[in-house]
Symmetry: D2
Subunit: 338 residues, 4 copies
């Protein structure tokens, strides 16, 4: 931490701060400049917020951390890329893994139809929501257990492993029986009880970025899962809240190279939620691949205009197949394959 004192701080104040730094287990290193005295608190300050409390002293102007606050998620602790194995599919390796399927599981016919067509087009994982987090209590909340069973059936028929969302700590075990990847949605990225619970599950976790989560906070949420014992965390950028309203969210592809620098965890991009409109999904899927993403999460629905959720952002199977053909070319251009 770097502690900047206010202009005109007395020697007694400087000593007081130094003493507090020592008592918290750090070594103070004081630099007296022309206009400010700055004290470095030497020691491992990752994840420790207590030094920040010094900011409440009247003689302290600011307290600034030097190190990123996460450890296990960092490249420093593990420099090699993490590869997450999901039932024969590797996420974080050379292959760009496309996960496709409907927003919500709505019926047996709908799900199997999409699953077969998504697989034929090259998808490697089937997505589908059974328990749905809905902004309104009056909106369709998912088929729940029946949805999970349909996902299992679609897996048996197609061989595609399944990703589905888990919203509550007490349902983690149930969902882990049916799902190959547990998805934590954007609204639960800082639901710490849920994070602690999926850390104990044996299944990989796909952790979506919250709509106003900084990359640092997001990696701290990943740290909850990693430090709880589950090393198989996949990060998924899905759009942040900004002032722009021509897209539903602002898909932040900058997060891809930033994450690749900071962490060894695989990074997936969701252009469907990120843009909120089917017409923009293809361009942003290609862009995500070119930016270096390890995978994509794409919503496909046989009749988007009748979808019970997220119709406007779902692709019809034919459009999805066309996207996959273009995606194969972009993937190859960045030395990957789909």
């Amino acid at each position: 931490m770097i502690i900047v004192l206010r202009s005109g701080s007395s020697d007694a104040e400087v000593e007081d701060v130094e003493g507090r730094i020592v008592s918290m287990g750090y070594r103070p290193h004081t630099i007296r400049g022309q206009l400010r005295t700055v004290i470095g608190a030497v020691g491992d300050d990752r994840g420790k917020e207590r030094l920040r409390a010094l900011e409440s002293l009247e003689c302290v102007e600011s307290v600034t951390p030097i190190l990123q606050p996460f450890k296990l998620a960092s490249r420093e602790v593990r420099s090699a890329d993490t590869e997450v194995q999901v039932d024969g599919v590797t996420i974080g390796g050379r292959r760009l893994v496309v996960m496709a399927g409907p927003c919500s599981v709505e019926s047996r016919f709908q799900l199997l139809d999409v699953a077969h067509r998504a697989k034929a087009a090259g998808a490697r994982v089937l997505r589908g929501g059974a328990f749905k987090p809905r902004t309104s209590p009056y909106a369709f909340q998912g088929l729940e257990l029946e949805g999970l069973k349909l996902l299992a059936e679609a897996k048996r028929e197609t061989g595609l492993p399944v990703i589905t969302e888990v919203m509550e700590p007490e349902r983690v075990d149930l969902i882990a029986e049916y799902a190959d990847i547990l998805q934590i949605g954007a609204r639960n990225v800082q639901n710490f009880s849920l994070l602690r619970r999926v850390a104990e599950a044996r299944k990989p976790v796909l952790l979506k970025r919250g709509m106003s989560t900084t990359i640092q906070e997001w990696l701290l949420s990943a740290e909850y899962v990693l430090s709880g014992g589950n090393p198989n965390v996949i990060l998924c950028e899905r759009g942040i809240r900004t002032f722009e309203t021509s897209t539903r969210f602002t898909l932040d592809l900058n997060a891809v190279p930033v994450l690749k620098k900071l962490t060894h965890l695989p990074v997936v991009v969701d252009p469907s939620h990120g843009t909120g409109h089917w017409e923009y999904v293809e361009a942003m899927a290609l862009a995500g691949a070119a930016a270096g993403a390890d995978g994509l999460l794409i919503e496909v629905h046989p009749k988007p205009e009748e979808a019970l959720s997220d119709g406007p952002q779902s692709l019809k199977p034919d459009r999805f197949a066309a996207l996959m053909r273009r995606l194969a070319r972009v993937a190859e251009a960045v030395d990957r394959e789909i």
Copy 2:
């Protein structure tokens, strides 16, 4: 809903959309303008997203709702202000209710000291965190059950009712035994399982706005609690995420008059989290009162520089007492009292 068709839509397309509107239970009303055909779908569209799926039709340019999507939270369903009764304290009435106390309960001495001094200064409710949502898994996570017991003791000693945060559905009953108001934190504003669970509790709920929650989404979260059977919801503005970094969040006081127009629920302001720095708390507390808030939530700590959480934004008891004296004058200027 208002459905705008793309330029050049054919009569067949117009009829197709009209047919779909009818089949979803609405009455279509078509306006053919010079440049666009617009179809109004007449009917109660609150909370119904299905019409939005029409946006995925190629002939549809946009689908725009007309009504706010919440019902029970709206002034239309209930025009009179809701007054929430908490153990002799009325929130939403003439009195501006100040809730004060430490961010985290850290020790018996700390809590009782603050509780007595907050009460002496005019606070009507005691706040204190026992289960803490922390961004980092390595940070202090609260005294948990011991913290709840200390809150109960402080209540016995001072008579102040207690507000504390609940983070997990399965802990709602436990916390409701000790707390008079259940606080839902900003990170859980869209934790729908938790909202459904506190809807069943017999205690009032204070629902903080998420850091990127629109006012409309926030009221839909309140609607989860109201429609679940608990009418005693208090809304708490606590700052949103913006580009500005000189404050930790941007306390959005505009939310106060907007909420007063849209909803009958009481509105409380948290200038401590909203600004993140003790030096700005007083100004924003006074401003919140002037804007029409029904209450304030303020962090007070006997030694902020040693606090285990949120030290930089906590007031010392003396400063809090000074704030209360100024607040009394502003409250009176807007025909209220503290």
Copy 3:
């Protein structure tokens, strides 16, 4: 500046960075921690960006300034509050100065009507736009010179000094003939040519915050005017861009106490543009006063529903008068008067 080196930096790299710091005129002070080496560059780095270029070295992780980059605008250079004198009105003193009038000057009748009624209600300065910055080229662009002449006439009739916007460097002299305060609009806050030009004018300058301008950048824009020789700068918060759409902008009242800490310049709040809707203007005007603003800028129009610009946010004269009565009470509660 604080330069943090990457983990594993060699001694040669540390020396290279130290050498560069010396050659740029600073004194390096190196702290070798367990996990990082940190180098403080001691010297006055205000307004000097060159050290930041070190961030492009591969061994450098980050470069963080210690001092605020503005000087003349800072409390360090001048601790006492600046009071700006405008034709008998003091902005920045004990009186809370209300500047009122229409968004655009539209006609002689409209302007004189508003001017008389605003004065009667207690306004001290008349606002009105003659040259209007309009988002669309097809919108009303202002009465231009005729508007300036009407403002001058209204001043003669009422005695109220006049504030109006200047958009172009080459029109500064013309407008300064008619106006008592030159307003720089939000869209021109970083129009540096214009800032340099008004720095040479003899008239006070009201500098609106841009809709995405940080407080630090805003004070650097003020620094352009101050360092150019014009000490009479008034800052005006008028709302920033955020994700929230229920108000047109998000009036950021937090800026008031932040500015009061950082700068000696007077601070004015514009609740009309900040909220974009007349129903929210009164609450935010009172809140601005309670937060410590030195003045308010409020749009008043005799027939808002026929206004050529910004009708939705304009108050009718009667509402304005009612607001002023409430404002007088809040002002008194914070030891000021209107």
Copy 4:
């Protein structure tokens, strides 16, 4: 426009609004729903804000435009892509045009060195700032006229046409003598006087998005240039302001497909300003190409660590050449070439 009346509006109020709509030249079309009366105002409302003023009537809840407010920039007025010709280079055609060079022209050696190496790597246009908009008045402000002359020399030596920024209306003619493309910077995107002035120039204009400009507002700024008589406008996405601080701005690539849908104008992406850090430039340049951009604007400097501006985001010539090799492959994958 769609005018929504408040619940409980009387027949007289409905008639009053209808009458106002007629008097403004539109045809009212009233839909009486169960909960609200909605009035469509039929007519061409592009660029006309006057109807919005109806929002100030007490019986009106909201006024929502149906049409995009720009005309000449829209696909409706011109469906075919605009191709801008710049001295033998076509922007908006099949070729992905890379514009490269230093942030600021700093010296003859620096500029010529970069120009030759950028050309050798495949750049088609040379960028370089002579007049620089700087946040701080104390920062390097550019070589001004000398910089323009050096750009002209570099053009003579390399044959690369030149793009440079223009900040002031009165310097447009001077800069147009030396530059092939006039760049309007992010801070001037709503400097309407400047937009009107470059509309009269005979040179193409590259219009950067402001850091908080919506896509709609940006296209209205383009409309100023188009409606002023200059059809050669190139749009440049360069990052918007969001809460995320790990990049300097958030490069919003979503803008590329959104613009491609709304407008016929060519779209260029600036990953240097958009990310603010050289390590992220390559990934976002490739992503921009995959998203469908017509060109890229990239900062290249022989010694970024000594740059007088924007060092942290500048690429060294070798890195730029490596980027171009990868870019050629991605361009080919989306049926373009560099």
